[in-house]
Amino acid sequence: MIELTHIHRYFQVGEQTVHALDNISLQIKKGEYVSVMGPSGSGKSTLLNVIALLDKPSSGRYLLNNRDVTQCSDDELAKIRRENLGFVFQFFHLIPRLTAAENIEMPMILAGLPVNERKRRVTQALASVSLQDRANHRPNQLSGGQLQRVAIARAMIMQPEVLLADEPTGNLDSKSGAEIIELLENLNQQGVTLIIITHDQSLGDRAPRKIRIVDGQLK
């Protein structure tokens, strides 16, 4: 479902051109569990951003569900992200003034879902990450593990096919990190394509398919 062909991505940094992605060709099938590893500056975040449609490749072709997304406009990409992709970030990225429930609700608000449907799904989502009793807490009243669980609930609320996680345990202690990984792997077992970026070797090794990227090239 994800099909990258000869993807290049250049960045202009001052006078220098940085070749962040160098001829990447990659296919990821529906339901796969992939880890992307590499030293910092290797281009793994850029790869994730390209897959996530947050960044456009300088050249190459990207087919998502057989649709050439390199030709899409910004607003079309926004809709594809909304419907097909879920994000989990290292720094959680919850909106501080909104409660856990409201944060989870946000993608559905952007998608224009009716209020009843939103309420129903939020209750379900909170239950699935065992945070029913934290629905009305704001991010500053929650622990790191809880924050990441809220973020996962938010990522999954639109029932996307792909879940992209950028260092999801990078900011957590090992116990809550393990809980988060378990939660993500559970989702993968339910059929969600899971792509995790990490530089934690033991975490990367859990994935059946391991991708290693160095200097913008797949190894």
Binding site: L54, F87, R97, P107, I109, L110, A111
Partner: protein, 401 residues
């Protein structure tokens, strides 16, 4: 995304920045309040003055000697003419069916004295009809007697200021007042005119017109005040006056005719322009408030960069981000406008209570336009920050915390 949700999100964002919101609302409300109060003052001054002029007599025609080709300027005070406007001319006006009364007017300045107290003042030479034409009221005694003007006696009517200055505690009635080298018996005292515009009757001494002509050694009249039968007969009366003067002045209507209407209209226009000018000056403060809204919204976009990046990742389109930030700016502006209306109304009420004689009122169009202007200001100045938010690169935005 529903409008209701956009509204809820915008309100939520405003609530999370209370102090900032209060400051914007304050700035906006000061702008709106000052526009409203100043417009109310200007508009009320206009109505007050127009009303005052109309109180002088709604169907008054003023005839001046000499013809000046006026092209919309203010009426000439002293016409320059080879032919004088005389008492006989004035008398001839009475032949017109459309004229109810005439009051010829001679004006001059002369020393007025009583028992060693002396001052210079304006002397009005006129007839019995002046009282009716200018709606004068008497405090004591009588106005000039109604009689054939040629047999005028040496009597005078004085204003309140003259009375207090020259006669102090004594009764003025029946006393002999010396004007230049002539003596006039005081037969009446005018009621204090207070807030009459134009001529200050409180400083006035009125004597029969023939006496005044003799006093100032002139046959020419300063002007003739004509009261027509009705407002409708005004144009006909003007025609009649021109014809009568033509007949008497060898075929030339060498006079200038000012109707009460045109004076009122002129003042109306001037004061409307003044009101608009004052309102525009006040609206500068609205523009300043608009810049403040923009500034605060720009800071808000910068502070919420990560949030905007997140919303983009979650699938917010440019239109939605525009909507969110514009709604925020619009809400702040509306809140400011409403607060401003309230403050303005309070100030106006205070002024109304303090100066009950001044008819202070806020015209309804000001309410609507200040609301509209502040809303537009908010939106216009919200546009830049909103499009900045919408254009943010999500990858870059997400790295900000």
């Amino acid at each position: 995304m529903f409008f209701k949700d956009i509204l809820a999100q915008a309100i939520n964002a405003i609530k999370s920045q209370r102090l900032r919101a209060i400051l914007i609302i304050l700035a906006m409300s000061i702008g709106v309040a000052s526009v409203n109060v100043l417009t109310a003052l200007g508009e009320s001054a206009r109505r007050y003055i127009v009303h005052e002029f109309e109180a002088l007599g709604t169907h008054l025609v003023i005839v001046l000697p000499g013809r000046t080709e006026t092209t919309g300027g203010s009426p000439p005070l002293f016409g320059e003419t080879p032919r004088d406007l005389t008492l006989e001319d004035a008398q001839a006006f009475l032949h017109s069916r459309h004229i109810a009364a005439i009051a010829p007017l001679t004006i001059g300045s002369a020393p007025v004295s009583f028992q060693g107290l002396e001052r210079e003042t304006n002397i009005f030479g006129s007839t019995y009809a002046l009282r009716r034409v200018r709606h004068l009221t008497m405090a004591q005694g009588n106005f000039l007697p109604e009689e054939e003007t040629t047999k005028a006696r040496s009597v005078c009517v004085i204003g309140q200021t003259i009375r207090t200055q020259l006669f102090a505690n004594k009764s003025a009635l029946g006393q002999w007042l010396r004007i230049n080298d002539r003596r006039f018996r005081v037969i009446g005292v005018l009621a204090a005119e207070g807030q009459s515009i134009g001529v200050d009757f409180d400083e006035m001494v009125i004597i029969p017109v023939e006496q005044a002509q003799a006093l100032f050694d002139t046959r020419s009249l300063f002007r003739i005040l004509v009261e027509t039968l009705s407002k409708e007969s005004m144009t006909k009366a003007v025609e009649d006056i021109k014809n009568i003067i033509k007949a008497r002045h060898e075929g030339e209507d060498d006079i200038t005719i000012i109707t009460q209407d045109s004076v009122v209209n002129t003042f109306d226009k001037i004061l409307t322009a003044l009101t608009l000018a004052v309102a525009s000056i006040a609206s500068i403060s609205l523009a300043v408030a608009g810049v403040l809204v923009m500034n605060v919204m720009l800071v808000s976009v910068t502070q919420r960069t990560a949030e905007i990046g997140l919303l983009k990742a979650l699938g917010a389109t440019k239109g939605q981000l525009h909507g969110l930030f514009l709604t925020e700016a619009a809400l702040l502006s509306i809140a400011g406008a409403l607060t401003g209306l309230l403050i303005g109304q309070i100030i106006i009420t205070v002024l109304q209570v303090t100066y009950p004689s001044f008819p202070l009122q806020l015209p309804w169009w000001t309410l609507l336009s200040s609301l509209a202007v502040s809303l537009v200001t908010g939106l216009v100045f919200g546009l830049l920050p909103a499009s900045k938010a919408a254009r943010l690169n999500p990858v870059w935005a997400l790295t900000k915390r």
